[in-house]
Amino acid sequence: MKKILGVVLLGLFGVPSLFAQFGPTGNTSLDLNVASEAAIRVDTAATTLTSAGTFNDFTGTTNFTYKIRTTKVGGSGSVTLQISTDFSPVGGPSVAAPPDPADTLAYTCGVAAPGTACAGSLTASTTAATGVATFVANARSLAAGTGGNSVAWSLTNDPQYETGSYSATATFTISAA
């Protein structure tokens, strides 16, 4: 018991004061660590896909704004999307189990600097995230966020789809390292 008490007392006496001595002036250094961060805002509340002509694909555009800061050396970042909820109700289009394997929900990307847009047309998936944008090391967006980014959707207009209204949810994810 004595040993324990002794150790405790030594510990207490050994704690240095966080405060400096009293003086006419005092200095404090303000320290901060700026880390990599990223945030995204989808600016289109609901994207309506429409067909411009008979059995033309359904198309529509989703706009988004991003904020990003990647690590100065060796950093990177990305924006991806995934169909988190497939079209419903059943009987219409489906990303996971379309009536015809050739039916797809495809998209192209438009991304403002410092991001780089995905190349070509990609097929959205319910099981894996697919790319929208990439960022290199030391990429930094505008303070208010960099806007003017978009995903242009194209959904096959298959005659096998039953008539009606269908909805799916696409989830956008941004990351920075």
């Binding site: 400096a20 009293f22 006419p24 404090t28 250094s29 303000l30 901060l32 700026v34 930094r140």
Partner: protein
């Protein structure tokens, strides 16, 4: 002749021993601080004057970490306690505790004091009136943190404050701009107290 010689030798011997004795006593008194055994008692009055002028001192932590206060890209924030001792004169104008950035954030590439909008708010001053609202902290001028009235003093209660030292809580905040490069940055702020 013989007697005279003896008397003369005896007188000389007494004189030498007497001098030695006196010297030994003086040395003893000097080394022991014992006054001569005399009966004189002297009383001396000395007026003590203390000129208590206005004064003030502060004590602050050596460093303060600013961290994101909330989610992604939320402002950087940090809180600290400033301690102060102060005495102001009844006829004076009181005093002030101020802060000023004396060194911008470095290295370059990150925030600057001006672009980041470094600001401070004050609360809970145990003596004086704390600043109200968010107050910008700059490199060019000082920002008032606590206004101390005349006739104020730290500690002891009564006309002075109860506690000692006096304290005030300070909350610093600044923007988290995506344009800052990643890394660690440091700026120095200097607190000053004045009392009149």
């Amino acid at each position: 002749m013989e007697t005279n010689c003896f008397k003369g030798r005896n007188r000389n011997t007494h004189s030498v021993w007497g001098k030695i004795g006196l010297a030994a006593l003086a040395s003893f008194w000097a080394s022991n601080g014992v006054p001569p055994a005399q009966s004189d008692v002297a009383t001396v009055s000395q007026m003590l004057n203390a000129d208590l002028s206005a004064a003030g001192k502060v004590s602050v932590p050596a460093s303060l970490s600013l961290t994101p206060a909330g989610g992604v890209f939320s402002p950087y924030a940090g809180s600290m306690t400033l301690r102060y001792l102060v005495r102001t004169t009844p006829g004076g104008s009181g005093g002030n505790v101020t802060v000023q950035a004396t060194g911008d954030f470095n290295p370059a590439g990150g925030p600057t004091v001006s672009s980041a909008g470094l600001a401070v708010s004050c609360s809970g001053a145990t003596l004086g009136t704390p600043c109200a609202g968010q107050n910008p902290v700059g490199l060019a001028s000082s920002t008032n943190l606590v206004a101390i009235p005349p006739s104020a003093c730290t500690g002891g209660g009564g006309a002075c404050s109860e506690g000692s030292p006096n304290t005030v809580s300070l909350d610093f905040s600044m923007a988290n701009d995506p344009s800052y490069e990643t890394g660690s940055y440091t700026a120095v702020v200097t607190f000053t107290i004045s009392a009149l």
